[in-house]
């Protein structure tokens, strides 16, 4: 006690030490080992040795370019779809929810209360060949009469959209809810139409929510493999499917690690570009 009194500057470090040490040991150090493994050669039988095997990287690109591009494509489409569904929904809750706001918000996070795998399996039921949803889509003509939804890229993208939608909706809601309603009224007093008031006031003010939401949706979506596995076929395999099967089934550790490092790097680069572009645009506008 008296020691602490004499060395007050130590207190924050003592509070931090256990948590930070844990994260360094089991988050930072593992990332080092992931890169280390990505340059190893070998098999389970003879063991793995570090040989600066850059080959793992060049092969990862040439062999799995298709799955990489597909992951980015599916994640991109799902992110846009989630934005198009979430924006009006959260706008409605934030501006028209009144005293029911908290209850309506509960509906948005409710999917999280059902185990991820179980709710994805529920989409198997919903999109199965003779389900009422597919029958309805066939009736409207959106799906051919002998067409199917399950085991197509549509099913995988639909699953990803649903599973990560709350990541989009929550930050959107937070930024919409914080908007000072009198600003919109002021715009209308100054003879802006509803559309113009929305485009010039509401939309720019909700931009932080849009940015956070799209990032929080896109990142996990690009690394996902559960939707492709449960709702698709090998033709819809994403990079996550390749990584998990190489690590856990084929035990091709070197290349699996190389693929993970590339995925992480691609996502980091996209985040930087994305925030730069949007950041400068907002400064200009």
């Amino acid at each position: 006690m008296s020691f602490l009194h004499r060395h007050r500057w130590l207190t924050p470090y003592l509070l931090l030490a256990p948590g930070v040490a844990f994260l360094i040991l089991f988050f930072v150090v593992p990332l080092y080992y992931l890169s280390y493994t990505s340059l190893q050669e070998g098999t389970v039988q003879v063991g793995y040795t570090f040989t600066w095997a850059w080959d793992n990287y060049s092969k990862a690109f040439s062999d799995y370019e298709e799955q990489f591009l597909r992951s980015l494509e599916y994640a991109g489409i799902a992110t846009v779809a989630a934005l198009l569904i979430s924006y009006p929904l959260t706008y409605w809750i934030a501006f028209r929810g009144g005293r029911w706001k908290n209850l309506l918000l509960l509906f948005i996070i409710a999917p999280f209360f059902v185990t991820y795998l179980i709710r994805t399996l529920a989409w198997q039921n919903i999109l199965a060949d003779d389900s009422f949803v597919v029958n309805a889509l066939q009736f409207v003509g959106l799906v051919a009469d002998d067409g199917r939804v399950l085991a197509t890229s549509t099913a995988v993208i639909a699953g990803i959209t649903y599973n990560f939608l709350p990541f989009m909706a929550l930050p959107l809601y937070v930024s919409l809810e914080q908007i000072d309603k009198s600003l919109i009224e002021a715009a209308k007093d100054l003879y802006a139409s509803s559309t113009k008031a929305f485009l010039r006031v509401t939309l720019p003010l909700s931009a932080p929510g849009v940015i956070a939401g799209t990032l929080l949706t896109f990142i996990p979506a690009a690394g996902d493999f559960i939707n492709a596995e449960l709702l698709g076929t090998p033709n819809q395999a994403m990079i996550g499917n390749v990584i998990q099967s190489k690590f856990l089934e084929i035990t091709d550790y070197g290349q699996a690690a190389a693929l993970s490092v590339i995925l992480m790097a691609v996502i980091l680069v996209l985040i930087v570009i994305y925030t730069r572009v949007l950041g400068t645009e907002r400064m200009a506008g």
Binding site: T11, L15, L16, P18, G19, V20, F22, L23, I24, F26, F27, V28, P30, Y33, Y36, I85, S86, P88, L89, W92, I93, R96, W100, K101, N102, L104, L106, F107, A110, P111, F112, F113, V114, T115, Y116, L117, I118, L121, A122, N125, I126, D130, Y162, L165, L215, I219, P220, A222, G223, F225, L230, G240, I243, Q244, F247, Y253, A257, S260, L263, M264
Partner: protein, 285 residues
Amino acid sequence: VTAAAEPQPLPRRRVSLLSRAWAFVRRHTLTVFGLLALAYLMLPIVIVIVFSFNNPAGRFNYTWEGFTTEHWTNPFGPPFLGDSVATSIKVAVLATVVSVILGTLVAMALVRYHFRGRGATNLLIFVPLTAPEIVLGASLLALFLNLGTALGFWTIVIAHIMFCISFVVVTVRARLVGFDRHVEEAAMDLGANEYVTFFKITLPLIAPGILAGALLAFSLSIDDFVITNFNAGTTETFPLYVWSQAQRGVPAEVNVIGTMIFGVAVLLMLLNVILSYRRNPKGAA
């Protein structure tokens, strides 16, 4: 109002009817869209609950075959299912306790002290939240493989603590930011020492934040599949059990347990919403 009283030529009346209909649609499209979006979010949940009462003819619980409460009377009937749920609960309790202690200490240091390395600590907390789960899982596996650690119960617990810490820090920090430190100073002025002040004043005031962090950590842990899948060895948690059954046909008892988890989570959230209404009847949390 006046249109009905004054006799008017027919075409003008039709225009006003059309424009009124248009106004009605415009006024309510947002509500209609919001309700449809909520229905979309609820659909898989309803399916999970409904199919927990299904009486499937074969192994696949896809199509509705008839009502039965059989699965509810013995939800842990199928082999290994009960064990996997028990393992999941043990892991979640351990991960929650450890991550809440470590995370709360880090949050206190970050909010209350200015110290060298604050930015780096914030980054260390933030990055695990944005990294794709598959990279977190793969890098931990790379660590354990290189160190020759046997995979099993404890490697799962370590993985879960790792990804829960950041969520706890963020949740508790949000609560600490709005903390009035004068209350603590008052306690000290009245002769309480630092420990008494912490346990009698600080802890009760930040308890809701800690509780929210604990609930979040527990639900993240019990739901996690991707990271667990990489670090489980032969140990089976509930999501891993569901995954292993997915190809052969998931037993309806899985829906029962999914419904139970959903029910408990909804009850807790409703309690939270009701408490926040009590504190602030206008509905702003």
